[in-house]
Amino acid sequence: MKYKKHNLGKYNLHIITTNRFKKVSVMINFKRKINKEDMTIRRLLSDCLLESSLKYPSRRLIDMEVEDLYGISITSNAYTSGNYDILSFKSTFLNEEFTEVGMNKKSILFMLELLLNPDASNNSFNKYGFDLGKRIIKNEIDTFREYPPNYAHQRMLEVMDKKSPLSYRGCGYIKDLNKVTPKKLYNYYKSVINEDIIDIVVIGNINEEEIINLFKENFTRLNNNPSSESHFIKLTTKKVKEKVEKSHINQSRLVVGCTVDIESVKEMQYALNFYSFILGGSGDSLLFKNVREKNSLCYHISSSYNIISNLLTIKAGIDAVNKDKTIMLIKKCMEDIKNGNFDDIEIEKARTIYKNSCIEMLDNEASIMNNYMSHEYLDTDLLEDRIKYIDKITKEDVINVASKVKINTIYMLEGDLK
């Protein structure tokens, strides 16, 4: 596998050549500093661009072309990454050696067609596609509450710090959606194309020169690529916040948010990963064994962390009456790690699992791309380098990180159905 970054001035083109896959994937990311008021319009844009285009003015015509291009997949996603908001378009298609000569080019041009020639006239998105996109986003916002695990997690973040970009709602906000008009959306689209930081990644068994020329000839814009700042968000804990909200659900959702007092990307990537795994990363973790297996309090319990902030999250689905007992057990598990009350074998397990998961990710083109972009955006190590560094982590590193973990927020979405 060969990673190569080409700074083409207007944007970065990253090419990962490998003969492992029968497919080729292309990811085009637009990012800018996060702004709560802009989140909704970005989501609407990510949807509208794939609903229709100038050449394919309906979803039906787009999908007909999709089938003609051997079932190429094109998806969009608008998500936050710490201080940044990212609009990501991804396409995957069979390498032309398995279809017809010329299909690689044709497939990439189709993707660019959708992104660069939207369904607009007179500096305004066409109303039909715009209204459809708007209704779809509105539905997503309206139904957000109906997925208890996601909703409870979101509410925990809002209770923790509603000013932090971490707590901005990924689905967007109705009041911002109502302000968008076809004209405003078009203006915003123009600013994304011309002003956002753009990174393009292509992975597959491809000819590097051909890909570079293809993009140079078919994708240009007014401005040069702006430079990026840190994505990282630092949270602090003063005192523990607690909140219980009721909902018409069967199972109560407990979400515990903790801050970890570290800033080094290395420590986040390795020691914290080990910590989270030992605490609640598998069917043999401390939480799983103590809360589920020994006390039968839950079916689901886990801990996780996200490298864009110093946040560690523990989630469990329980009966409301067992809340105090569950929290007591969670705290006990956290104390145990802090005090070094766990076997050395736990470290070795975490090491092997982490290492193997990196090795496995090298089998998957999407994982390789995501890890590569995380290297670009967050300065994390590439998979190949991680595999080596994992060997250096010791029990002391984990105990050390454990001493920096503090519970910040205990949130429960309490089910009132019997």
């Binding site: 398995f98 209704r135 659900i249």
Partner: protein
């Protein structure tokens, strides 16, 4: 025995062990990972059966309960600990027709495979460990009751079928789980975890000979009982149990599940071809490139299209449409308006092109290859290695003929509000 997946660049190795366990291996040397699944031809529908001539009726959800309890070991070692130590991900799942135990990991293959065979073929049920599991499974049931999609789909099966136990939830109910005993688990295990009722599928970076040897060696230390088992057949009528139903979950936008129950027992086509043609047909008629979709979008009946899935029994297929929409009556009327219509040759050929491409995508992923083999064994008792050629041979006329023979009058509607 070896067979080639022509056009897909894969080879299937198959051997039957002396215990009766069938082992299938598809090596793929350009990946790091190895994926292994051990499947019993036993699912949630098999609650009633005959063992050595004696009729057994077990509680609903027992196949799933058994799946949970298989991880219990006599020596107290938790299989998850071993898999974790070896850097592998292990799991298990139960559906209507099968129970699978699996692991994936790029190292320690031999130890992992031995662990898998050991914990599945050496059960350890006690009254205490059975009792302890009930709280966990009841939490799993509650979690499922909050998942809208699951609630809608379960209700659809319950209302569409009259006799066939596919109408009962895979997980069972709080009551059936509470009533499950160690003795229930023992008898079901005896009946359905005989190696001759199971098969192992390994895909990824492995040597087939090594796989066969590990299994052969592992079996030497085990003894297997033999029992005659007969699954019960059900006389399922064409009519559905309940035509219309509404569930209240305080949704902001209703979700509709609308199904056609199709009797396929007298159709003169192999089942998997019926499935292929039905999939093409419904995709062409109701998918994103259809007149139907354009109509519901233009009329603002439904913004995000409809999805469909097909559930199988030995006599009936149930085609279920799922959609989020405010005007559910209008949506159902529109679905009914199009049913039975022909699709065009152009549509057929485009769908076929996508299916052929999807076969190549499948051949690039060890999880998809493993799934395909597992489904083939359960459905056909053999692996269809000429899948690409078979799909190339699909005929437009055969599809039209099939559709003419189907009766679309038995429908079932479930709306969640």
């Amino acid at each position: 025995m070896t067979k080639e997946f022509k056009k897909l660049g894969l080879t299937l190795y198959e051997e039957t062990m002396s215990s009766g366990l069938r082992v299938f291996v598809v090596p793929k040397d350009n990946v790091n990972n190895i994926y292994a699944t051990l499947t019993s031809n036993y699912g949630s529908v098999d609650t009633k059966f005959k063992i050595d001539g004696k009729l057994v009726t077990s509680p609903d959800g027992i196949a799933h309960f058994l799946e949970h309890k298989m991880f219990e070991q006599k020596d107290g070692i938790d299989p998850f600990t071993i898999f974790d130590q070896n850097g592998a991900n292990a799991n298990a799942n139960t559906s209507n027709y099968r129970t699978s135990y699996l692991f994936a990991g790029p190292s320690h293959f031999k130890e992992n495979l031995n662990m898998l065979l050991d914990f599945v073929f050496e059960p350890y049920f006690t009254d205490e460990n059975v009792e302890k599991e009930k709280g966990i499974i009841i939490q799993e049931i509650k979690m499922g009751n909050d998942e809208i999609g699951r609630v809608g789909y379960n209700k659809t099966l319950e209302n569409s079928f009259v006799k066939n136990p596919i109408r009962v939830k895979v997980i069972g109910s709080v009551e059936s789980v509470s009533n499950t005993t160690k003795e229930d688990l023992d008898i079901c295990y005896k009946a359905f975890y005989q190696p001759s009722n199971m098969f192992l599928v390994v895909t990824g970076n492995v040597n087939p000979k090594e796989v066969f040897n590990i299994v052969r060696e592992n079996e030497k230390n085990k003894s297997f009982e033999k029992h005659d088992v007969e699954k019960i057949k059900y006389e399922e009528p064409d009519k559905v149990a309940k035509i219309k139903d509404t569930i209240n979950m305080n949704l902001s936008i209703p979700k509709v599940y609308y199904s056609y129950k199709l009797n396929i027992s007298n159709i003169d086509l192999e089942k998997r071809f019926i499935m292929k043609y039905l999939t093409i047909y419904f995709d062409a008629l109701y998918g994103s490139v259809s007149d139907f979709e354009e109509e519901i979008e233009k009329e603002k009946i439904c913004d995000d299209g409809v999805e469909f899935m097909i559930s199988k029994t030995d006599t009936h297929y149930l085609v279920t449409f799922m959609a989020e929409c405010k005007n559910t009556n209008k949506l159902i009327k529109t679905i009914d308006k199009y049913i039975g219509h022909d699709i065009t040759l152009n549509d057929f050929n485009r769908k076929k092109k996508v299916i052929l491409a999807s076969n190549i995508f499948m051949s690039d992923n060890i999880y998809s290859i493993n799934n395909k083999i597992t489904n083939d064994i359960l459905d056909n008792n053999e692996v269809i290695t000429d899948i690409y050629e078979e799909n190339e041979s699909l005929k437009y006329e055969d599809l039209l003929n099939l559709i003419k023979k189907l009766d679309f009058k038995n429908t079932c509607e479930v709306v969640i509000k």
